[in-house]
Amino acid sequence: MDKAADFVARGKRLVQDHPYATGGLIVGGVALGIWFAPIVLGGGGAAAVAVGATGGEATVAATAVSASAVSQTAAAAAAATMVLSVSGDSAGEIRSDGGNNKDNGPKKPAKSSTTGNMQKQVERNQAPKSIERVDNARTPYEKDQVHFKDGSAMNKDGSWKHGGRALTNAEKEWLTKNGWELPK
């Protein structure tokens, strides 16, 4: 038995045992698609195959089959690592992006700017005028800090290094935009 036929047979057995299986024929097609897609189209092709599958059930089957394919080839392993995000029951709501879509999954907080970038904003007058400088931490367990012209200095985590006062709305907005926390 050649590799492809063996793979289809294994796919059929796997999906027949699966509670959501809709039929070996469809699943076999999905399995073949995953098997050949990386060869013909690359990793992106594998994602396209999954999107083309009909219905959420077929997607479940494709996921199961691709998991069994991990040991087959490196290309099949690439198919197994693709991200399948099912947000509903219809095929139209199946999203597959091969792991490239950064919008999938929970939203992460805004990435914080480097102090160098923030300092450039200060020098270009793109920061509130009350800010004198943004400093790097000088010791490993110190935080980056923003120095205000009134002499106070606030750490990146919102704690005060020295001094302390209520921040203006402009200061809050600028710090938040750059990924810093505000005093509690």
Binding site: R133, A137, P140, Y141, E142
Partner: protein, 161 residues
């Protein structure tokens, strides 16, 4: 306010209000506004360091004094990449040097490490203090470290007494 008064005031304040634990430092341009000029950072920093150690000794304060020069951060540790003050000056970032006061025996690169948190990647190298034209009684160290929330290796040159 004289230089001595400015440093004394800072030392007294942070010794009493917990500033030592907060690593509350004193930038030299707060001692003398003229020291804001980049060309004076080495001379001004060394003068501030001399004043702080003299005040520490005079008042028998059980503390270590450190002077920190913040160097331009990079995407990898660079080691000691300067041989003299001229080269060192080109490595400074935008922030004037600052004084720290530490409990005796503490090192700036380990002080404040929270318990139960994985250690930060730190490299530490001794630097020949004669580069800065100072005596052997002063320890000179370059530390480079990468914090969890940063993609950069930050670099600081410390003088400690």
């Amino acid at each position: 306010m004289s230089h001595e008064d400015a440093v004394h005031s800072w030392m007294t304040a942070i010794s009493q209000d917990g500033g030592v634990g907060r690593l509350d430092d004193l930038h030299i341009d707060r001692i003398d506004h003229a020291w804001k000029t980049r060309e004076l950072w080495i001379a001004g920093g060394l003068e501030a360091f001399r004043i702080a150690t003299a005040l520490r000794d005079k008042n028998k304060l059980p503390a270590a004094v450190a002077l920190a020069f913040s160097l331009v951060a990079g995407d990898k540790p660079l080691g000691v990449d300067f041989k003299n003050t001229t080269e060192l000056q080109t490595r400074f970032d935008w922030s004037p040097p600052s004084l720290y006061l530490l409990p005796p025996g503490e090192k700036p690169w380990t002080f404040g490490a929270p318990k139960g948190v994985p250690p930060i990647e730190i490299t530490e190298q001794s630097v020949d203090s004669s580069i800065l034209g100072i005596g052997l009684t002063v320890r000179c160290h370059l530390i480079e470290f990468k914090q969890a929330d940063s993609g950069e290796f930050k670099r600081t040159l410390f003088l400690i007494s």
